[in-house]
Symmetry: C2
Subunit: 308 residues, 2 copies
């Protein structure tokens, strides 16, 4: 019998083999490690795991573009941080404004619209904005091997959730089309919503108050709150995913953690211990002890992005 390869974008090396072995084990009826379909929960970090996060998070690129689009109505921004830095594309100055600057940036660019209006803004931006060096639309900078992984897992009875430290509103409008993941299976940071009436029509208005799913220890809590159980499989790429992988793989029964290691400067970016976005140090050091699989993007992935 010829079985077609469910992961054609992956080289037949250790990482792919370890993941396929795990999936085979938990789905084989009457195997000691069999897991019923409703408990086959897999979680995926987003920035750096599903799509490109260099030279900056896509959400930050969106916020900077929004500041530029809104600036004509706010002339004072040219002299006022964090807006001045955003208008000048000065990432170092932007970083220097710290958490307060980030909160002001999000409040000014992600709020004071209805949910429907903001979704329109996001879709319009994603249809036009291009990555500064790779020149593609951001939704074309998703990793094909990870898209194949989602489909492979779902074909094996898994439910696949995206768990991002970034805002859900930038992700939910396109996950069904690109990943096959419906919006209710996307967990992440949000702004507070206020129920109100426009005339006699109820709307949800976005307030400039962030309800973050901070990375790190907040991820397991956010997963449990949204899903009500512990996943059996977790994919991440940075130290911000350490707790998500640790909590996932500490449960009883078969468990697997996977780290995507950015090693491919030719096709994408190579970085780990020394970066502002997606630092990977503690988690990769902990991997051998915990039997986490480390994916070497340059060596394990036959393809990087889908053909356009």
């Amino acid at each position: 019998m010829v079985v077609s390869d469910p992961l054609p974008s992956w080289h037949d090396r250790g990482a792919k083999q370890a993941i396929v072995e795990f999936v085979t084990r938990v789905t084989r009826d009457r195997h000691a490690d069999f897991v019923p379909p409703q408990e086959r929960i897999a979680v995926f970090d987003h920035d750096g795991t599903m799509w490109v996060e260099q030279p900056m998070y896509t959400q930050l690129a969106f916020a900077i573009d929004r500041v530029k689009a809104l600036a004509p109505a706010y002339p004072e921004w040219h002299a006022q941080q964090p807006f001045k830095a955003a208008l000048e594309d000065n990432l170092a100055a932007l970083a220097a404004t710290g958490e307060r600057g980030a909160a002001e940036l999000v409040a000014a660019t992600h709020a004071n619209d209805t949910t429907d209006e903001f979704t329109e803004i996001v879709i319009g931006w994603l249809m036009n904005a291009r990555h500064p060096t790779l020149r593609r639309l951001y939704t074309e900078l998703v990793y094909q091997p990870m898209v194949d992984m989602l489909a492979y897992l779902r074909a094996n009875g898994f439910t696949t959730f995206i768990v991002s430290g970034g805002g859900v509103e930038l992700i939910r409008p396109w996950t069904q089309r690109v990943y096959g993941v419906p919006p209710e299976q996307v967990i992440g940071s949000r702004v507070k919503l206020h129920y109100e009436y426009r005339g006699n029509r109820p709307v949800l208005y976005r307030l400039p108050e962030i309800e973050p799913v901070d990375d790190r220890a907040a991820k397991p809590a956010a997963i449990y709150e949204a899903i009500g159980r512990r996943p059996i499989l977790a994919f991440g790429n940075s130290d911000a995913d350490f707790e998500m992988l640790d909590w996932t793989t500490a449960g009883d029964g078969p468990r697997l953690g996977v780290l995507v290691h950015h090693t491919d400067a030719a096709r994408e970016f190579a970085y780990d211990r020394d970066t502002h976005f997606g630092r990977l140090s503690r988690a990769v050091d902990a991997a051998p002890d915990r039997n986490w699989v480390v994916v070497d993007m340059a060596r394990d992935w036959r393809e990087m992005f889908a053909a356009t």
Copy 2:
């Protein structure tokens, strides 16, 4: 062709006919009102819509029983509200302690355990506690016509969500078995979780801080935060569901709101404008104008509870 009745627990009267007509309309390919499956989101309030909420919310019965179970370790509770009222089954005195009393009760009875420990406590209670007058287990006091409705909608491509003002932890452990609804499709109030280690094993510890999904205007916001879209079908039973139904049915395209009216004192309870739990007044007054279906439990439901 003989088609078996998908809603055998419902009488063939107006409410059933209106709901079936709506479902037929949105699922018929090439019909002007066709809705693709991924947008067929239906939301269901829980207390009083899916299960009995008289003479008090089940969660309150649980909290009172927990106070009694924990009281030997807290002798001071016999002289201290709200615990004294709980120990004496004095609902009027308990109500008089107000929001502060309710928060103290939840903090004392729903926290300071890991998530796994608390789920064990909930399951143990649900396996033993019985309703004070109907004498059944609480999970046997779910309305069979609503269980049939969930299955009928899912068979027609809908995704069915439970949206409760009560705590999710009392509901999630059994919704798959009783409703066919997985825990990730249950939205509701929660406590804050803290990620920490027991030895070298990560756990989520329940803090005595409530993150409520208050009823009323908080329900549409909680639904949008969890699901990322507006449902097309909403079932409720009280004024606390008014905004959920109003927001659902104010969207574009085909929409339906349904109110369950408790009219059956013989098989269950009859109440509407004058009750502490599940008051129904404004919403039922608004129903005719908005074309919401009002289910008369006594006349529309052939069965009430499943046979045990």
